[in-house]
């Protein structure tokens, strides 16, 4: 098994250690695969369950949902400044530091943080403490500042989903405030926020007092999350001995960090060891080295232990990355368990440890030791562009690949064009200028009122009132449309609350016997009618979930089937929105990502949702007959299509026989549409749905053992187990072999060889 895990030891002690051993991103590149990772982790640790309840939330949550973060207080603990945060709804872990391309000779690097449940605050509030930053740079005597190349240390706020219904298992990372470094050895927790890597100067000296002063005004206030940042892991170079020194700080470690930004992802260099550090003299320190990393304990405090269990086959680590689960945003942790488990782990390592169950010592900020500060001229906060956050789009090496990300997936395109986002307001309803808005009046009418209108049209009383430029009342009618919904249900705000006498061309629609009433509609359009929402989930959890293997259509009522761009919407949620035009009965369907996925429009298409009822005629007699015939035929058409025929019955008074001519006229009208007419689509389905078209795989038993599954990695072959196929095999310096032997080796490796102990037996 090649899994490596990062997990949190959260056994009730206030200062549990989390251990980072990340999942090999090549094997678990997507969030969905984490389920598999966890399952294998269960086997690895002989556990029946992990607390992975929030995994699904992680899977589909692109951003941590931090409601707010509140600074509780700052304090001085040992030489390391610490800051407490409270995060409502989510717990917070304030951790530290991150370096990149750091000189391997540089000694220490801290990555720590701890948290504990503040039960007094209720289960929803998890107070987390962490060392803001306490790694030093330089050698032990600190005589020669190292050349920093993109050295960066940041103050992290790690947030856990602390839903009381779901045990915390997933740790999110976000950057509360970037700081550069803390030379806690010489500067007692000095923090810089404006560090010049070229001159090694800083202008925003933040020692403890300054730090306190910086934050004290914010105690109790909500803090703004500045950005999400990468999680910095540290790898240690193993040394030759294991040495536990309980009294001094660690000093012979040689950890270093190597990770590579490619595209938008963070790639970790294979692990050789893991860092540890002890930095708090108040609590003593532990100093560990190991012959055979990765069996190693690391801890920033004596009572904070982690266990880095050696995987049976591989000694590497990677990261879990995906579009939605990126290492620079999220990572995983899960609880290992109790003190007994800890003890077992340590016993395995042959280490004697003492568990300390004291509560964390919260030193009020008022009790801080005052550290003299050399007055410095006030320096304005550096512009955001100077902040040393990891870039979203890092500079990529010129690898010759078209996408510039070295052939790795996930590259982000410079100058990326953002897809349009559907408007969130109803501005369209007011803003659409058709020339009709002010020239016409729209009336919402009931079926009975339409009957009254018909009666009025047929009455001779109106003729004398119609302006001379109209030969008949119908000429003043732009359209009469029936919609498959009650207008007040969908446009309540756009329709007057009471009936009014309908006027056409300023002529009241009334006769001696009849008055026609309706409700004035204030808008001609209704936008943003959200019809439904779909959660697009994977089925295979592989490339088969994408095009061209998987196709997804959406059926939209009154429109039909439309292909969806699978690659774009997979693992996201989409919503179907209708923009309805009350003048011509048309509908514009918008399929867009939900707001949590950016709200970008996926596609738009149009159709006819309203039934257009013809009312035109050429002369009084012909007009009447034509209208009646047309309406009658429409009624038949609707009845044929399975609809109710309400329209026909509305205006069918006195007309029992619809002529075939009238029917054909209406068909001609509808046939000019490029989609099924409204009355036809009405007969199909009024509910949207998705149609998944997926391939049928036929994997024989033991397929992976006899043929393997595609991958794309570059690794030492000794890390492989089982069937392996290589490509473009390079066999340099194999001096003892004859050329024919080299060729044979190359041929076998390129056609498939078995490493390690094959599972299938031989």
């Amino acid at each position: 098994m090649s899994n490596v895990f990062k997990y949190t030891l959260n056994n009730g002690y206030y200062c549990d250690t989390w251990i980072n051993k990340l999942v090999d991103r090549n094997k678990y590149p997507i969030s969905g695969e984490l389920v598999k990772c966890f399952n294998e982790a269960l086997q690895f640790y002989n556990r029946e369950e992990f607390k992975i309840g929030v995994l699904s939330a992680l899977d589909y949550t692109p951003e941590p949902k931090i409601e707010k973060a509140t600074l509780l207080h700052t304090k001085y603990w040992g030489l390391a400044p610490t800051i407490d945060y409270r995060c409502t709804g989510y717990s917070v872990l304030n951790g530290v530091s991150n370096t990149k391309n750091r000189n391997p000779n540089m000694r220490s690097q801290i990555l720590s943080g701890w948290f504990y449940n503040n039960t007094n605050e209720g289960i929803n509030t998890l107070v987390v403490e962490g060392v803001q930053d306490h790694f030093r740079y330089g050698t032990g005597d600190f005589n020669n500042p190292e050349l920093y190349e993109e050295v960066m240390s940041t103050c992290y706020m790690f947030t856990n989903n602390n839903n009381p219904d779901v045990e915390q298992d997933v740790v999110f990372y976000c950057e509360l405030e970037p700081v550069y470094q803390s030379q806690w050895i010489t500067g007692s927790g000095t923090v810089f926020t404006n560090f010049d890597v070229n001159s090694l100067t800083h202008t925003n000296h933040m020692n403890l007092t300054a730090l306190k002063n910086k934050y004290i005004d914010k105690v109790g206030e909500n803090l703004t999350i500045k950005s999400f940042t990468a999680y910095g892991n540290t790898l240690g170079v193993p040394r030759k001995e294991i040495n536990i020194d309980g009294s001094g700080r660690s000093n012979l470690t040689s950890p270093y960090v190597e990770f590579l930004l490619q595209g938008n992802y963070l790639h970790f260099i294979p692990l050789y060891g893991i860092m540890f550090d002890g930095c708090c003299p108040n609590y003593g320190e532990i100093n560990l080295f190991a012959n055979n990393i990765p069996k190693l304990i690391f801890t920033p405090f004596l009572h904070k232990y982690g266990y880095f269990k050696e995987p049976p086959v591989f000694k590497s680590q990677g990261s879990v990355t995906s579009e939605l689960l990126r290492l620079d945003k999220h990572t995983l942790s899960f609880t290992v368990g109790s003190e007994a488990e800890y003890r077992k782990l340590f016993n395995d390592l042959g280490l004697k440890v003492t568990f300390i169950k004291d509560e964390a010592i919260n030193i009020p900020v008022e009790d801080w030791s005052e550290v003299p500060v050399t007055p410095e001229p006030p320096t304005p906060e550096p512009p955001a562009i100077d902040d040393p956050v990891l870039p979203d789009t890092p500079v990529r090496p010129d690898t010759g690949h078209a996408n510039g990300n070295g052939g790795q997936e996930g590259g982000q395109v410079d100058n990326e064009l953002k897809p349009p986002i559907s408007p969130d307001s109803d501005l369209q309803e007011e803003g659409v200028s058709t020339g009709v808005k002010h020239a016409s009046v729209s009336w919402a009418m009931t079926e009975e009122e339409v009957n009254d209108l018909n009666f009025t049209f047929l009455s001779g009383d109106l003729w004398t009132n119609i302006p001379s430029w109209f030969s008949n009342p119908q000429q003043a009618v732009i359209s009469l449309i029936k919609f498959p919904f009650s207008l007040p249900n969908i446009s309540a705000d756009h329709i007057s609350q009471s009936d009014q006498l309908v006027t056409i061309a300023n002529v009241p629609m009334e006769t001696r016997d009849k008055q026609v009433y309706g409700r004035i509609m204030h808008h001609k359009f209704k936008t943003r009618v959200k019809i439904c929402e779909f959660d697009i989930k994977r089925f295979f959890n592989s490339y088969l979930d994408f095009e061209p293997y998987t196709k997804i259509k959406i059926y939209m009522p009154y429109i039909g089937n439309v292909d969806l761009p699978v690659d774009y919407i997979m693992d996201k949620k989409i919503e179907l929105i209708y923009d309805i035009n009350y003048i011509d009965g048309s509908v514009l369907a918008i399929v867009k990502l939900t707001q949590e996925y950016g709200g970008h429009i996926v596609l738009t298409t149009s159709g006819a949702i309203g039934i257009n009822i013809p009312v035109a005629k050429s002369d009084a007699q012909a007009n009447t007959m034509s209208a009646m015939k047309s309406i009658a035929s429409l009624g038949l058409g609707i009845a044929t299509a399975g609809a109710t025929g309400g329209v026909g019955s509305a205006l069918l008074t006195g007309v029992q026989g619809a002529t075939s001519t009238a029917i054909s006229n209406i068909r001609q009208t509808t046939s000019t549409m490029d989609r099924p007419s409204a009355e036809h689509t009405r007969a199909i389905s009024s509910s949207p749905y998705l149609i998944y078209e997926r391939p049928i795989t036929n994997m024989p038993p033991n397929y992976t053992q006899i043929r393997g599954i595609a991958t794309n990695i570059y690794k030492p072959l000794k890390e492989m187990a089982g069937f392996t196929v290589c490509k473009n095999v390079k066999l340099d310096n194999l001096t003892r072999a004859l050329s024919s032997e080299v060729d044979e080796i190359r041929n076998i490796l390129e056609t498939g060889a078995i490493f390690g102990k094959p599972k299938g037996g031989n």
Binding site: A444, I481, S686, M720
Partner: protein, 152 residues
């Protein structure tokens, strides 16, 4: 004269590190001009030789498959050998880093795998919305203000 160790090999030829059971150490005789890739050696019959299908020749620093065993007389037999390059150079191979495109364990399901057996045809699934916000109806078309009259 060369020094041989005869084995019984249980592993497939494409296994890098073979699962071997040692049978016997003995000497072999080079009886003619030989090719180090596929030599033939004469050995004295020994117990268990019939189970021998693999050997190591110390002087050649190579592992060999026994491709044929010919009994010459009641005391001697000839072994036809073929070099096993994987086992012979296993340390070098294992320490080399290569571009791996298929793997039994470290696979990546997101890498398109053209070899995945896929049957003809597809299977179709229909899925209703997870959340329905607005429903149209086909059965009882509303009569309450479902008409819009647009007029001058």
């Amino acid at each position: 004269m060369v020094t041989l160790t005869l084995y019984n090999n249980k592993s497939d030829n494409i296994v890098i590190q073979k699962d071997l059971i040692k049978i016997v150490d003995l000497n072999g005789e080079i009886f003619q001009e030989i090719d180090v890739i596929s030599p033939s050696l004469i050995i004295t019959l020994a117990d268990g030789f019939i189970d021998c299908n693999y050997c190591y020749v110390k002087e050649f620093k190579r592992y060999y498959y026994v491709t044929n065993a010919i009994i010459l007389d009641g005391n001697r037999m000839r072994l036809d050998l073929k070099v096993d390059v994987l086992m012979s150079y296993a340390p070098y191979i294992l320490n080399s880093s290569q571009h791996i495109v298929r793997q039994e364990v470290l696979y990546n399901l997101q890498v398109k795998d053209e070899e995945t057996p896929i049957l003809n045809g597809t299977f179709i699934q229909y899925r209703n919305p997870d959340i329905t916000n607005f429903s149209f109806t086909t059965e009882d078309l509303p009569s309450d203000y479902c008409y819009v009259l647009n007029a001058l």
